[in-house]
């Protein structure tokens, strides 16, 4: 996408110390709060105009919640979200609805995010009407035809229904829907994970072409590090509700500084047998701890092969820039310098059984795949 990370471009989106805690309630009438799921806990990030910021992390790390909280689809517990200089965390009702024209979302599952009973034309024109962008039926139809053409859908798509399209085409409809109100920022939550590889590349290429042509700003959220790194100018790596490392996408692969980033990079399979045979895997022990009872100190210390006796389990590291690191490369690790210089060696970690039944002690399903599931919604 934009070749250089433009340091001087104004910030379009600023997130400051954002937190989303979901209450866990017990009892028939959901009266008593017995704990919280710390989905997002103190995240700060800045997305500049015209760039693509990628958020990567494993399931349950809070990346989707972060995307939703930024768009105010989920109410943040505390923290600030500034869009184009204006705090949107406090906006409500009509104000918020009108502001949403400028930030749109592309969802993961193109089937469940499109109403099966609406034709593509109706799906796309809904946004135009809702935001008062309609310029009469003739002009609108012309605009929609252009849009459909721009995202690479066949002619005559407007009168068809979502089930008549393939997965990749449906995702294109989702993108067209986000584009039709001319937003500044598009938050794409796993835009390609439901698609086959050959189709995935088409959608990724489409996203970068649209960015070049329309000057869009993207926040791309995905679990696939290779995809995120490919589309993004900067990448933030999330672990259990916090960003552990943030770097320009070239630096992330060349100079990973956080132990988790290193493990993640070494776990991604490469489509190249020679490289696969050469490289050394850092296998992490165990599973992601429960976000309802996050470990003290550094969230990663329970699985970290570089864990030290001091500080790791008591003090939560703040993101900071190491000496000699690229501008904009921040890492949240107490021992990052020593690990980089090889002064600390990795050691064996015993897998810790994550038993959420014990830590939660409520009737929530263990290892729920989503917070909704935990809340029983």
């Amino acid at each position: 996408m934009s070749e250089e990370t433009n340091g001087s471009a104004p910030a379009l989106l600023e997130v400051e110390d954002l937190a989303v805690h979901f209450p866990i309630t017990q009892g028939v009438f959901r009266g008593r709060t017995v704990g919280h799921v710390y989905a997002i806990d103190g995240v700060s990030l800045t997305v500049r105009r015209g760039e693509t910021y990628g958020l990567v992390g494993e399931s349950g790390c809070g990346k989707s919640t972060l995307g939703r909280a930024i768009l105010k689809l989920t109410e943040p517990t505390h923290g600030r979200v500034r869009f184009d200089g204006e705090d949107i965390a406090g906006l409500k009702g009509e104000e918020l609805r009108r502001r949403r024209r400028r930030f749109q979302m592309v969802f993961q599952d193109p089937m469940s995010s499109l109403d099966p009973r609406q034709s593509v034309e109706s799906l796309l024109s809904e946004g135009l009407t809702a935001h008062g962008l309609s310029k009469g039926p003739e002009a609108d139809r012309r605009r929609l035809r252009e849009l459909v053409d721009a995202v690479g859908l066949p002619k005559g798509s407007l009168r068809r229904y979502p089930h008549e399209f393939s997965g990749g085409q449906r995702q294109r409809i989702g993108i067209a829907r986000a584009l039709c109100v001319e937003p500044d920022l598009i938050v794409a939550d796993e835009p390609v994970s439901a698609l086959d590889v050959s189709v995935q590349a088409q959608v990724l290429n489409l996203l970068s072409r649209l960015q070049r042509e329309l000057g869009l700003t993207y926040l791309v959220i995905a679990h696939d590090l290779a995809v995120v790194r490919h589309v993004s100018d900067r990448v933030g790596v999330m672990y259990l509700g916090g960003i552990v490392e943030e770097a320009p996408s070239t630096d992330l692969y060349a100079d990973p500084q956080h132990p988790y980033t290193r493990a993640l990079l070494s776990a991604v399979p490469l489509p190249d047998p020679e490289a696969e045979d050469r490289r050394e895997r850092i296998l992490l022990a165990g599973d992601l701890p429960s976000p309802a009872a996050p470990p003290s100190g550094c969230r990663f210390h329970t699985r970290c092969p570089w864990k030290q006796a001091e500080r790791c389990d008591t003090e939560r590291p703040e993101p900071r820039r190491l000496e000699g690191a690229a501008p904009g490369h921040r890492v949240a690790c107490h021992w990052a310098e020593q690990i980089r210089d090889g002064r600390i060696r990795p050691h064996h970690v015993d897998a810790d059984m994550v038993d959420e039944a014990a830590t939660l002690a409520v009737g929530a399903p263990e290892h729920a795949s989503s917070v909704q599931e935990i809340l029983g919604r």
């Binding site: 399931s59 679990h223 790194r229 490919h230 296998l283 290892h367």
Partner: protein, 332 residues
């Protein structure tokens, strides 16, 4: 070395009354030698899972037609009686499925699901089976195995469940293991753990493994030989080093080009394959054949839409294409 499993001209057609058959697998042949890891790669709908189900004879009894032969130790599995097949399933060949939550019984403790195999196939007594089950769980890397025997599947994480499923599949030390997308539902760090485990188990026990996946990255690190499927037929087969160094079929070539590489320069335009599987031509049609990939193929010639390409052998490679990618270009 003689092959452990030989699949020859396997064809699976799903039938519906009053409608033409849907051919999911169309003349697939491959073999697996003892201790070998063979990959079946392809996108959704290419027939890779149906192939595995056909080998296990787990396809529903009605509504499909399976032809060809599936020989294990020279004996045709398709000709076996149901009870004889049941005897072999789990003992000689077993399977790991994609979604461990839906393939484990949610209302039975995991331990019981492991011991069930042991008592059924190895005739073990209850206590011995339980001890053995704990050992199996330990071997697949489940911490505190004795306590975990009494856990229910929902009390375990995705990675642990997949480990439990592998333990069940390995309970009778089968000579052939079929893994159908065993890591697709898992996170990458957990995927790395499971792939490492599978590789280690195969090396230790000498089990042959058929790895079914859509992820070329997984194949690159694990498989000895790779079969690339497209629309129910094998379009290319080669040893993994050869396949990735010089993909000859335009589909394989395109597939490799469309994956964003972690170690490549970011932001580069990906060489996407145009269209989708919906554009495919039928391999065989009454008015003549075609190559199914023709409408999406950047190298398509006139002949591609008129004549079905045959699978031709060149050294260790098998290729089904009229106009393959030249070696030099493929290597670039």
């Amino acid at each position: 070395m003689t092959a452990l499993l030989e699949v020859e001209d396997l064809r699976v057609a799903f039938t519906r009354r009053g409608e033409p058959d849907t051919v999911a697998v169309d003349g697939v042949s491959f073999d697996v030698k003892p201790g070998e890891i063979v990959g079946l790669v392809g996108e959704s709908g290419c027939g890779k899972s149906v192939t595995s189900l056909a080998v296990m004879r787990l396809l529903p009894e009605r509504g499909n037609r399976v032809t060809g032969s599936i020989r294990m130790d020279g004996e045709d599995l398709l000709a076996l009686s149901d009870s004889a097949m049941r005897e072999r399933r789990g003992r000689d060949l077993s399977m790991i499925f994609q979604d461990p939550l839906s393939s484990l019984n949610p209302v039975i403790p995991v331990g019981l699901q492991v011991t069930e195999v042991l008592t059924r196939h190895r005739g073990m007594k209850k206590h011995a089976a339980r001890r053995e089950a704990a050992e199996l769980l330990d071997r697949v890397g489940i911490p505190d195995p004795t306590r975990r025997l009494d856990s229910y599947p929902h009390q375990m994480s995705g990675g642990m469940r997949q480990r439990a499923l592998i333990a069940i599949a390995l309970a009778c030390t089968p000579r052939l293991l079929i893994a159908d997308e065993p890591t697709t539902a898992l996170d990458v760090t957990i995927q790395a753990q499971i792939l490492d485990l599978l590789e280690q188990l195969v090396a230790e026990t000498g089990t042959a493994l058929v790895m079914i996946t859509h992820d070329l990255g997984v194949v690159a690190g694990l498989c000895d030989r790779v079969n690339v499927l497209y629309a129910g037929r094998i379009v290319e087969r080669a040893d993994r080093h050869e396949l990735f160094r010089a993909p000859r079929h335009p589909y394989t070539h395109g597939l490799l080009g469309s994956i964003p590489r972690l170690d490549g320069p970011p932001g580069e335009e990906l060489a996407a394959i145009r269209g989708s599987v919906n554009d495919n031509l039928p391999w065989a049609a009454p008015e003549g054949g075609a190559c199914a990939f023709t409408p999406r193929c950047p190298r398509a010639l006139d002949v591609c839409g008129e004549v079905t390409p045959l699978a031709e052998r060149a050294g260790t490679r098998l290729l089904r294409c009229h106009n393959p990618v030249p070696v030099a270009e493929g290597a670039a």
